[in-house]
Symmetry: D2
Subunit: 338 residues, 4 copies
């Protein structure tokens, strides 16, 4: 059985693992103050074109979201997300557990819109209601869609207008970076207050690189990390991995590859006449399948069930750096022969 | 200008204030361990027919909601409410500030339904999502509607089925108690795990009497109160007030009176052809008024603006124990003469 | 049995209660935005000589401490207190419950010293330890002692030097205000970043007036109050009481009176040769009594047991605005006749 | 420069890294539900002789302490530790940040004693103070000492008597396991309610294996992990590492080796007449050195400065699985030649 369940089913990209092997016995200081973290930060600052940004390496996505949001907000302030937002649905109340409300509106193609933000801000006007203070978006979104360059600029302008921070969850950022109309790393850095470059789903064993642009979100962030149990003793592990991913174009290549693999599958499904939900060019595919087709697939492949739809089941297929071309070809053939 | 803005515009019902005057110089121990609190608890236990319930006197409604919910839930657990729920909209994130998510569905006549609860429970199945653990309802609701005896029983059965606590916010409980098809205090106590008998909006200077029925919600609750800064030093003030409100039928009389006053106004509005939103028989009236009528009213009366509706503005009118018959008559006459 | 257990055994000073009676049926808006709160704030600003300070009326002391401290600190920051500090010992972990560590050193006559502060700041230097950010003191202290004008100035200078806020708990402030070498309200306001004027123990039914001097501690404090369940619906009750206490010199008179009553008792105890613990001129007396003397006293008076000491028991006697001269005379006579 | 700064200066033990290499491209499910985690749990349950214990794999020590303590306690409850306790001094308020007070007493040879526990429990008797609910100890302690078999049994009995949980931080457990009078894994499991088997400082890249013995601490712990951002997506990484460390006796061997290396250094220091602070047989050495000796050492070795002592400086030397015999020999020789 081959798994298309997600993009974190294997360990690390071979180059990343090799870098860990090579450096294993070198002594460094702990807690991210080593030379590998320094190098990884330098390469990130260069790529994003923001020499004064802060970079912190964290272990996981929920942790990173919770840390950034809880740093930015007081308990009476809220973060805006759409109803498919990872922080709202799939983080077991981590943001609320840290003391902050999430203000939610129905998504538009998986995304937050300027209108949502305006609507929420107009409704929250006095001290008997929470005060909106941040907007949370994901690139790519939970539905595999993404914000274009223009959409991100518009969102940023709207958050300026209403005095909100804009924070981008980049768990699957690489997939978006490979698309021509999605913002580049430099463009992202100019249009958000903080974002993270996801590692866990992009070829690292684990790790997310949080980039803080807005000066108000920087002071003493390392204290905050430690207070939340999020400062890795052997911080070097994060530095080594991110340096390897980013020092040339491995990160971008991975995004390109996983999109390519997804495209092959997507085209086969479309050819066969299956209905794609929220179609895009990223590494996630949501497709509505009749029961019989699904049964045939699940003899050989693992996919995620998203729920019943008219005429069958909606399933999710995810590709990654580790997706084998053989598996994709086998899947495509299976679809063609249905 | 006479205010129909809310039911806490004046001090206390004269009998309540008189009781405070009469006892002022008597020495008691602090923190609610005095004889007045004991008497008030006894009278409540008798009225609800539950000799083993716990009763705690608290100062305000948001405080009481936050205390009960945060006691009952772990941070990974959530409370279910409808989108008009006071805890969701008008408590500045107090529940989230204490670490707990509120799971929300659109209201049905201001109320939570069994279907909402089932739907939410079916969607929250693993540790990547919060675990629903409590249902929050208000009697009367934010829209002035109320749960009937049967509706409450159904909700209670549903919460049993899904392993949830049922908690009733009774800020305006007296108004519902005056209605024949609403549950009595005894019936409420049999069909919830905890509820509170509101004082602030029912004739007390301040205060809510939290009644805990379910044994799992009782241990060390006083520690919890103190930890949240919610244990009044002169706890006697709460005991004296609730004893006075409940020792005979003052509390129920107040509910009856404020409903009567609201009915006079409601009938006048209906007669005149104005559209009532979510009509009921309680002390809150929501009515859609053309701009001109509203202007006429606001020359003499203060009312709450709820937002623009087609053809005018939705306003809220609230009556209370303190509402003067003269003011009501003047309002009615004004409406008739529009 | 007459109680010397504490200074909150009765209701309110007759003038305060009368003010509540007089205003009872007047309609006001809620949540502290009424004209009584405005007047009370004005009188406070005038008395402290700080026209730009913020004033918020809260219900209780633990609540006020928790609110001010949790507003000022991030979770990785700590407040410094001595080991007798109310927040450390007698608030059931309210400050920690809100997410903040208390850094503690042994008291010197019930007080925090500049040396303690320096010592703690020198020890807390990197992100693996909490960051000291505030100093908490009480005027008068838990042991009935008080900070002199010079001591307060020194503390304030030290907190400036180390980048700390200085916060004074004034639950029993009136008792200190009556002493010539203790700082006046104006002097306090010049030498702290925030403090509160205690009402609960000074003649109010309940209530503490939090005064915020430092601009960084002001923004959106009302949101914070609401989020913690600490915004009283009928906020007027606090405004009315504080206006009555402070509009002339009732507050100061109460402090003077309770000190006088305590002095009579203290002198009798000293005359009789009993050992006073941490002697002062405020309204709290700690005295070590042999068992026999204690038994004689406890036939007629209630006092607080503080623990066993060599040769007997340490007890606490507290006077207040409500302490009757007859009771004091009877107590003094009893001591003289031992 | 060779570093004796700590036991997490390198990556992972070669066998651990090799296991990660071998399994890298195998697909598994995420979040610790894979077969490697299952195998690692089985081997742990077998080693501790407790088939019904729960095991959870976490990333770091502060995270593990905060998670276990915050799960066990309500906000009005406290954990007891000594003043050298890692949670009290070196976790940046993580336990308080999660809402819980730490009750502290001066250590006795780095340890908590039964008398401390009794003393604290006797002092905390009503709802105006926190309620002690857990005792936190470390094996080995922050000073390199350890609890003997008998000491642990006594502590456990005392915690039974006072209704407290006993929780052992095992960040450096392996060092103690190698000592004959320290409790074995089986003995630990019989005498605590929860403990963790440290990986980060014992040869893993990262990771701690939390073992929960007491049934009350088990339900829904995985929800709690996720809520705190502590559930690793590629949970397999933890399973693979712990299986490799524990499947035979690598973990114990590492403890033995690092103690041996420390002994060589310790003996040389003692021979030379230097004063060892809190001497033990574990992998941490605290020694008071005159300035001149320290300078000589620091030309070749990095050591941790603990503070000034009479006649010089107290420094800490730590050995680990990675400590090279050559470095130890060079250090010993340097000492001998001083």
């Amino acid at each position: 059985m081959y798994s298309f369940l997600n993009d974190y089913s294997e360990g690390a990209h071979p180059r990343v693992l090799e870098a860990l092997n090579q450096t294993n016995l070198i002594q460094t200081v702990g807690y991210g103050e080593d030379e590998y973290c320094t190098k990884a930060k330098e390469v990130i600052l260069q790529k994003i074109g923001q020499p004064h940004a802060d970079v912190h390496f964290l272990v996981g996505g929920t942790q990173t979201n919770m840390l950034m949001i809880s740093y930015a907000l007081k308990h009476y302030q809220a973060v805006i997300a759409c109803d498919e937002g990872h922080i709202h649905v799939h983080e077991t109340g981590a943001v609320e557990g840290a003391g902050h409300k999430i203000l939610v509106r129905p998504h538009v193609h998986g995304k937050v819109t300027c209108d949502m933000i305006k609507d929420i801000c107009l409704q929250h006007k006095d001290e008997h209601m929470v005060q909106p203070r941040m907007v949370y978006i994901s690139q790519t979104t939970e539905l595999g869609t993404y914000y274009t360059r223009e959409e991100l600029q518009d969102l940023y302008q709207t958050t300026r207008q209403y005095g909100l921070y804009l924070f981008m969850d980049g768990a699957r950022l690489g997939s978006a970076l490979a698309l021509p109309d999605a913002p580049t790393l430099e463009e992202i850095a100019k249009n958000v207050d903080a974002f993270y470059i996801g590692g866990t789903k992009m070829g690292a064993l684990f790790g997310e690189a949080l980039v803080i642009i807005h000066d108000d979100l920087k002071p003493q962030f390392r204290y905050h990390m430690k207070n939340k149990g999020a400062m890795l003793a052997k911080g070097r592990l994060l530095g080594i991995q991110f340096y390897e991913l980013l020092k040339d174009h491995l990160y971008e290549d991975i995004g390109h590859y996983e999109n390519q693999m997804a495209d092959l599958i997507r085209q086969a499904l479309i050819q066969k006449g299956f209905s794609i939900y929220e179609p895009s060019q990223t590494n996630q595919i949501f497709v509505d399948l009749p029961q019989k087709a699904l049964e045939a697939i699940e003899k050989e492949f693992m996919v995620t069930h998203m729920g019943t739809v008219s005429g069958g089941e909606r399933i999710r297929i995810v590709t990654s750096w580790a997706t084998s071309k053989e598996a994709v070809n086998a899947f495509v053939q299976l679809i063609e022969n249905l």
